[in-house]
């Protein structure tokens, strides 16, 4: 199977074959991280622009390292240090960057649909690195790669995605990707943080943490943001942590012994995850981060290599 898309915008638009190709490609590139000289010439002469309109540590760094290990020229553009602070529109900024002939633009933006907008406007490849609460496909891919490495397969696995599902692009991308690969997904959280009609996207819904984590292979904990309390969606962080925070005690009582604990980061220690859980034996949170670089190498390679550029 060959990659044919110009862009990577969402997990929803991909089929199982495409997802598998992306994960396989990433898996094959993982060993670069353990080399003494972490560089292959695959994308020499290609330019990757990280266009970040929202703060990000993990994702931007991950794309930057991925591009550099593949020998691409990687340029970071963040909204604060750019002309967007002088009132230039997103579209104008993007067109200006496109005029400098990048091969791939990686975009992170607080508006849902921003990556799709760029893909329609620019002729270069676009990678969605998170658009509002819509999607974050490379996060889902690295989650999937991590799960496959730890569990050996996808079919039949059951995942609980717990927390602020309503505002989570990771939850949406994970849900689509996991469902397409034959996994069962339960989303869990207080009803105010569960998006309406999410069952129609193929998810089961639970309003009790103890029920949700009972019979699952993977627990994906989501970050709870302070804004949700200000918006009247939850009464307090204290109450949220009490009922929805994952502790060793709850895990021991309700979860299976071989369960994986995942989190897209950044973790609110003591809110959604007790520190002992985040650092504990169930946790694969740092594995996710290192798989992230491999996944982004794979994505950049498939997109930039699509035009017949030289391969590794």
């Amino acid at each position: 199977m060959a990659w044919t898309r110009k862009d990577l915008l969402s997990m929803r638009e991909l089929d199982a074959g495409e997802i598998t190709l992306l994960i396989d490609t990433a898996a094959s590139l993982q060993e670069i991280a353990s080399r003494d000289i972490k560089k292959v010439p695959a994308l020499r002469g290609k330019t990757v622009v990280n266009l970040f309109y929202e703060s990000s540590t993990r994702t931007r760094t991950s794309f930057e390292i991925a591009g550099k290990w593949l020998s691409a020229d990687v340029i970071n553009f963040s909204a604060s240090g750019s002309s967007s602070s002088k009132g230039e529109s997103f579209i104008d900024t993007a067109k200006n960057i496109a005029a400098m002939s990048p091969d791939v633009v990686v975009v992170r933006h607080s508006s849902a649909g921003a990556a799709d907008l760029l893909a329609r406007t620019l002729s270069c490849s676009i990678v969605n690195a998170g658009d509002g609460a819509h999607e974050h496909p490379t996060q889902a891919l690295l989650d999937l790669l991590t799960i496959r490495e730890k569990k050996g397969h996808f079919e039949g696995l059951h995942v609980a995605i717990v927390g602020d599902v309503a505002h989570s692009r990771v939850a949406r991308s994970d849900l689509h990707g996991m469902r397409k690969l034959g996994m069962t997904v339960t989303v869990a959280g207080p009803p105010t943080l569960i998006p309406p009609y999410v069952q129609e996207l193929g998810a089961k819904v639970s309003y009790r943490l103890e029920d949700a984590i009972g019979d699952v292979d993977v627990i994906m904990m989501l970050r709870l943001q302070q804004e949700r309390m200000d918006a009247g969606l939850i009464p307090s962080l204290r109450e949220y942590a009490h009922y929805w925070g994952l502790t060793l005690d709850k895990l021991a009582k309700h979860a299976r012994p071989d369960v994986l604990i995942m989190h897209p980061g950044p973790v609110n220690r003591g809110i959604e995850l007790a520190p002992e859980v985040a650092d504990g034996p169930y946790s694969v949170i740092l594995d996710q981060v290192s798989r992230g670089v491999a996944v982004r190498m794979g994505v950049l390679l498939l997109l930039a290599g699509r035009k017949g550029g030289d391969h590794a």
């Binding site: 529109s89 997103f90 508006s111 309406p196 009609y197 999410v198 129609e200």
Partner: protein, 427 residues
Amino acid sequence: MSLLIRGGRVIDPANNVDTVQDVLIEDGKVARLGRSLEAPPGVELVDAAGKVVCPGFIDMHVHLREPGQEYKETVATGTRAAAAGGFTAVCCMANTHPVNDNGAVTDYILAKARVEGVVRVYPIGAVTRNLRGEELAELAELAESGCVAFSDDGKCVMNAGLYRHAMEYTLPFGAPIISHAEDSNLSGGASINEGVVSTELGLPGQPAAAEDVMVARDILLAELTGAHVHIAHASTAGTVRLVRDAKARGIRVTAEVTPHHLILTEDAVRSWDANTKMAPPLRTKRDVEALIEGLADGTIDCIATDHAPHALSEKEGEYDHAAFGIVGLETAVAVLLDRLVRQGHVPLATLIARWSRDPARLLNLPGGTLSVGAPADVTILDLDAETIVDPSRFHSRSRNTPFGGWQLRGGPWMTVVGGAIARAVKK
């Protein structure tokens, strides 16, 4: 000056007329109707054989943007768009800059309309000063200056006590209060409907209840005050049900619906095209069905475009940052003739009534009929005209439509205002 419109199928719902006959217009008024009328000397002839001759269409909800936002639209361009779209009169909303919340602004709009207007222009005055929802605008002066209704359209007057006073204060003027029914706490100003599409796209949604709650409140206030409340751009099944029940109980409530809420659903948002973003948002299939049913049975009194011009730069960026609203004047008639009438959802005579007789009645406007002596405002339709919507050819200054490229059958053919031809597509 006189005009003889010959051989058209005249549909005049106010008089229960649907027959092929001629219409003679003299001195800006309908002079005679009948078969094979003799042409007086010097009369201008219009061969309307095969066409449908209707009372002039009135669009009771448009934004002409003048004064203040002439880069989006002006009285001149907006009324040209109206004429091109088959409308002989428009009512323009108060959210201009400055807001039409005093007689001087009303005077300005009417002066512009006299000089540059191609169709009749009826201003709608603000309910509250600067649309802030805090204190009443000078409602009596607005009425005296020529405002035909009052509305803070674009915003909902959240203060029920103040709104009640507005309804009471305007009772003597015989002009309705038009409600933009949107509880801003429930809607949160969200870009789209709350539903499966908002969940899938990760865009904040506003529930149908944000509209229904306010419609229910305004019906109760109409009952309390005896005022005539008109619900702008009904978009939900709940609104249809509430208005139907209120009418059955004798409360003075009326409602309008836009073409886009009759035709499109939230599914259109999946394109990420900001021309699917308006307030209220596109809803579900169930809502569309209820709106069509309400339009057919008279629960919904009229169709209005909510013509809301915006510059390209306000619509081309991020979806959640884009302006709310779409233009409608130049697509409304063709879209509904094709998608509602031709597909059998609503009879032609009903569509015509909801665009002429009914808005004229509810706003006490002249026109809305082709009775002898009525103003000679006439909309002539060509039910067979094949068009492809081409926004680049709009007369409006703005192009923000979700209907670009649509292939439609049937549309406006000629617009006659006060006995003069405002626009002919072809003759």
